[in-house]
């Protein structure tokens, strides 16, 4: 594989990859396929009609992983991909996506990933998506992911979505449709600083009986950054849904949090909690009594909070 030092660092940041991954993978660099590996039972194909891939996991494939990182190492790129994932019945897989942008130029670098997942009956998917940006240029680093997930009967999706600094603009749209006894756990971690803007719109549609959905979002907004969360739960059957939106606001940041509950069935149980506040003074003081400076204490608190 033709990887330079920047590529390697980006891959490490977004996909914890130090070497070529052991499972199936598809690595995309600057809008082109760099390297691909299919496995027995996990096939990756390029789409014929537009850019993007189909990842097909056959039924009953367990303990496997699929890495599909995207790296952008130049300015002036506008990368748009459509990826479709099919997780076969009773399969259990880890999918590590993520996008790393290195932009030293004055031109914008942009990646919009449109992902659609079909989790068939009884399957389980853990999906980890990390956004990472770096570079000295004035060109903006922009990511606008759209994720649609269809969770069929008895299937489970665990999502871990992480973006810690580095990205100037993000608008993340996530839609999840959950069937009978389907389950979703979504953890979101976000840190913005400078004048970065991040918008997260999540809709969890609890369609099937005994479905459940949990959205846990933790964010830190520093300096002049803006964060907007719109998270909505729709209960259409006997189901359970919970949203917890917790944000720490610092400096001159602006945070807006709008959890919405929408019940269309008398047996739907939906709850939400949203909190925005500054770092607690007594936590900072406690760590200072251990000998940490105020700055060190704040760093430790934020590290823990976003872990």
């Amino acid at each position: 594989m033709k990887l330079n030092a920047v590529d390697e660092r980006l891959l490490k940041e977004v996909a914890q990859l130090h070497t070529v991954p052991s499972g199936a993978y598809n690595i995309r660099k600057n809008g082109q396929l760099l390297e691909r590996n299919s496995l027995p039972g996990i096939n990756i194909f390029s789409k014929k009609d537009r850019s993007g891939i189909d990842v097909i996991v056959d039924p009953d494939i367990v303990n496997q992983s699929v890495h599909i990182p995207v790296i952008l190492s130049e300015g002036g790129l506008d990368d748009l991909v459509y990826n479709t994932f099919e997780i076969g019945e009773n399969s259990e897989v880890l999918i590590v996506a993520g996008c790393g942008i290195h932009n030293d130029s004055a031109l914008q670098s942009k990646h919009d990933g449109i992902h659609e997942f079909y989790l068939r009956k009884g399957s389980k998917m853990r999906y980890v998506e990390k956004h990472y940006g770096e570079g000295e240029g004035t060109g903006e680093r922009v990511l606008n992911p759209v994720t649609k997930i269809h969770i069929e009967e008895g299937a489970t999706a665990e999502l871990e979505l992480v973006q810690i600094g580095g990205i100037d603009h993000t608008k993340r749209v996530t839609e999840v449709y959950i069937g009978e006894r389907g389950r979703l756990v979504m953890n979101e971690r976000l840190l913005t600083h400078k004048s970065q803007q991040a918008v997260s719109e999540v809709t969890v549609d609890l369609q099937g009986a005994d479905s459940s959905g949990e959205v846990l979002s933790r964010s830190v907004a520093q300096e002049k950054s803006l964060q907007i969360f719109r998270i909505s739960l729709i209960g259409r059957s006997r189901c359970k849904g919970h949203v917890a939106c917790d944000s720490i606001i610092m400096d001159q940041a602006d945070v807006r949090s709008q959890p919405e509950l929408c019940a269309k069935n008398a047996l739907a149980e939906l709850t939400h909690e949203a909190a925005i506040g500054k770092l607690a003074g007594d936590q900072i003081i406690k760590l200072m009594t251990f000998g940490l400076s105020e700055e060190e204490a704040i760093r430790v608190l934020l590290d823990g909070y976003l872990k």
């Binding site: 007594d282 200072m288 009594t289 251990f290 940490l292 430790v300 823990g304 976003l306």
Partner: protein, 252 residues
């Protein structure tokens, strides 16, 4: 050795200036165990916070081993060996027990952490990875807080109501641990804010703080008879009508 010299503390509030501590002078000697006791709101925690640098006195000085530390930050005092276990320890999202105790003392090993957890009555296998947040009960938080001070190389260890919220079964063990740790540490000054009989008996000196002042000092034999009478009648802030009633009861 840590001393307070003519320390006063006041807060400016909307309704006016509130005097919290009034001209407190006291020296805590190395190697001695002190207990500060007195009614709620008397100023005990404020004395501790002034020593730790969490509150700055409005007048007076704090002296640590002949060095004026009044203008030192909390962190600087921690480096110099002053440690304080909070009365109400804060909780931390995402920080686990192991990390928390490592923050308290960088030099400790994982074996040290397991040992202190066992001593404090928390099973290491169960607690090492637990986060120090709402998932821990009040009593568990208190134990962690005490552990964080005991495992540090504190010259001056201040423990604010360490027994509060700790279950009856673990109570004796915890109190013994605190007293033993004091005796094991070389020349440590231990200051325990407490109402517990056991600590009062173990103390080299008891200091009664009420209405922002040191009311009386002495050993258990001298202080114990005064405490009951004093707290009920003389040292508690009460409204005027109640005060009259109290005077009748106490025959003042």
């Amino acid at each position: 050795m840590i001393s307070l010299e003519n320390v006063s503390l006041k807060f400016e509030e909307e309704k006016g200036i509130v005097h919290i501590l009034n001209d407190i002078s006291i020296t805590f000697e190395p190697g001695k165990l002190y207990v500060i006791t007195g009614p709620n709101g008397g100023g005990k925690t404020s004395v501790a916070k002034v020593m730790m640098g969490i509150h700055n006195p409005s007048s007076g000085k704090i002296i640590l081993d002949d060095q004026d530390i009044t203008s030192c930050s909390i962190s600087e005092r921690a480096f110099k060996g002053v440690r304080y276990a909070f009365q109400n320890p804060p909780r931390f999202k995402g920080i686990d027990v192991k990390w928390f105790l490592k923050l308290a003392n960088e030099a400790i090993t994982e074996a040290d952490i397991s040992l202190i957890l066992k001593k404090i009555g928390l099973c290491p296998e169960e607690y090492l990875e637990r986060t120090v947040d709402a998932g821990l009960s009040g009593g568990e938080m208190k134990r962690m807080e005490i552990a964080s001070v005991l495992l540090s190389k504190a010259k001056v260890a201040i423990l604010d109501e360490p027994e509060a919220g700790v279950d009856l079964w673990g109570f004796e063990q915890l109190l013994n641990l605190i007293i033993q740790s004091h005796h094991k540490a070389i020349k440590r000054t231990t200051i325990i804010i407490s109402h517990s009989e056991k600590f009062l008996k173990a103390a080299d000196e008891i200091i009664v703080v009420a209405n922002g002042k040191i009311q009386v000092r002495g050993n258990y034999a001298e202080i114990h008879p005064l405490i009951q009478e004093g707290i009920n009648c003389r040292w508690r802030k009460v409204c005027l009508e109640e005060e009259k009633e109290d005077e009748i009861k106490c025959g003042r």
